[in-house]
């Protein structure tokens, strides 16, 4: 299984680069994952999306629907794409340490 290196620790990821074990996620991992998705700096707005995704995932065990994500964070879908160029699923969910979403995000 491929892995990314975060501060000397190997974190396993799946073939699409999603974290294999969501419990291993921390902010340093998020930064490392962000770089793989073309996000060089995680701003306050990035964290707002990432934290919401994590909170929802921890509560419900799945990623939220895309419209829910937009409504709850107050960002338009366009703004989400501006923050995460590869989109809410491949970009934001990956950085938030969620497993690869199968649904609509």
């Amino acid at each position: 299984m491929p892995a990314i290196n975060v501060g000397g620790i190997e974190i396993e990821v799946d073939e699409d680069g999603f974290i294999a074990d969501p419990s291993k996620w921390n902010e340093a991992v998020a930064k490392a994952l962000a770089e793989t998705e073309g996000v060089t700096e995680l701003t306050e707005n990035h964290w707002k999306v990432v934290n919401y995704l994590r909170q929802y995932y921890q509560q419900f065990g799945i990623a939220p629907m895309i419209r829910k994500l937009c409504k709850e964070t107050g960002f338009s879908l366009k703004e989400i794409y501006d923050l995460f160029p590869s989109g809410p699923a491949k970009g934001a969910c990956k950085i938030a340490g969620l497993p690869k979403p199968t649904g609509c995000v």
């Binding site: 998705e37 419209r67 879908l77 366009k78 794409y81 160029p85 590869s86 989109g87 649904g103 609509c104």
Partner: protein, 374 residues
């Protein structure tokens, strides 16, 4: 067709005859003709079903067809370009489009049945190709669960039957909802079409989730002098009377009249006889839920007339845009995953939709279905 392709027996057969040949066009481009030949020989396409691909900067307007014969071609990625409403492209724009297909693609352009334009390219070439398309005034979009490219008939720019400016309305909606066409955030795709009159040349009512049809609310206008001239020139009055689907045309022996209770404001008599012109009170009928697709509980269906007449003043389409936007929000918030608009409306009921949109339900069409719905 290149020399090497002489071995393509099936493709060569399709080159015979005097009419234009798609194989000639494919063969004159860098399309891998071996894939087509493979499909013809095997009796099924050498392409596998496709999907949407993730290209940073391009949330929509990109996709791929997978290949069953990776030794011929690994995959066929494509860019989907939003076609200008009405389907016009100036020769200059077409040249720029051609240059783009030549530089980044397979030297081939596909005008799709859904009213978009596709260029087959590679994933790596997509972003630079789109930059060039943008410079030519074009843009991509209309793939996945988003608002698909708004198509329109040519309208008054080229047709005498047009009751509303169909391409202008489609352009207005296209511009107002451009983000919805380029960022896929809906439960399912939504197709929309605008037709200038009830002839509905774009077949919007049957294949689009939303159709906006130009309609007239008053009666067809009959010019008696022109009618006489038409009859003298050999016009078939009997045929004209018989053509009316509701038998609303009444001939008194000397004059022709329209029964206002029977006329349902179609275009049949108007199409047949130049002495009959559409009424002057014109607006838009909003029909929602049409689809050809066999998926979903309802299967293929014709849409529901949600609003039979929306008046248009001074080319102001704001009311239609507001209604359209409100419906899209309502549908997206309440639809099940992958539920098309038609299946959604039939599940929740058109009355519920009308109420949620704050419109007045006027049920006379249900009480007396044969009567004038306006």
């Amino acid at each position: 067709m290149p020399e090497a392709s002489q071995k393509y027996t099936f493709c060569r057969t399709l080159l015979n005859g005097p009419s234009p040949s798609h194989v000639r066009e494919l063969g004159n481009s860098r399309y891998p003709l071996a894939m087509y030949e493979q499909g013809l020989a095997a009796g099924e396409s050498a392409y596998d079903h496709g999907g949407y691909i993730n290209i940073p900067e391009l949330p929509s307007g990109v996709g791929v067809r997978n290949s069953c014969r990776p030794e011929i071609i690994e995959e066929s990625a494509y860019l989907r370009i939003l076609q200008p409403a009405g389907g016009w492209l100036s020769a200059g724009t077409l040249e720029k489009l051609a240059a783009c297909a030549e530089t980044y693609g397979k030297s081939l352009i596909h005008f799709t049945s859904g009213g978009t334009i596709e260029i087959y390219t590679t994933r790596e070439q997509m972003v630079p190709a789109v930059r060039e398309l943008n410079a030519a005034g074009l843009d991509v979009g209309s793939t996945g669960n988003d608002l698909r490219c708004l198509t329109a008939c040519c309208g008054p720019a080229r047709c005498d039957a047009a009751l509303i400016d169909a391409p202008a309305l489609a352009t207005y909606l296209g511009q107002r909802f451009i983000d919805e066409q380029q960022y896929p955030g809906y439960p399912q795709k939504v197709k929309s079409g605008v037709s200038g009159c009830p002839n509905d040349c774009t077949r919007a009512m049957m294949q689009k989730d939303h159709s906006f049809i130009g309609v007239y609310r008053d009666l067809p206008q009959i010019n008696s002098e022109a009618l006489l001239a038409w009859q003298e020139a050999g016009g078939d009055l009997k045929g004209l009377l018989a053509s009316c689907p509701t038998e609303a045309l009444v001939w008194t022996g000397s004059t022709l009249a329209v029964d206002p209770q029977k006329c349902w404001h179609c275009m049949v008599c108007i199409n047949l006889c130049p002495a009959i012109r559409p009424g002057r009170e014109r607006g838009v009928a909003w029909v929602a839920g049409g689809k050809y697709g066999h998926r979903g509980p309802q299967g293929p269906m014709v849409g529901y007339v949600l609003v039979p007449f929306i008046p248009i003043k001074d080319n102001d389409y704001t009311t239609i845009g507001d209604l359209f936007g409100a419906f899209l929000e309502l549908w997206a918030d309440n639809a099940q995953k992958k539920e098309r608009v038609g299946d959604f409306i039939s599940r929740v009921g058109p009355l519920w939709v009308i109420k949620e949109l704050g419109l007045n339900a006027v049920p006379q069409i249900l009480i007396s279905p044969g009567r004038n719905g306006f």
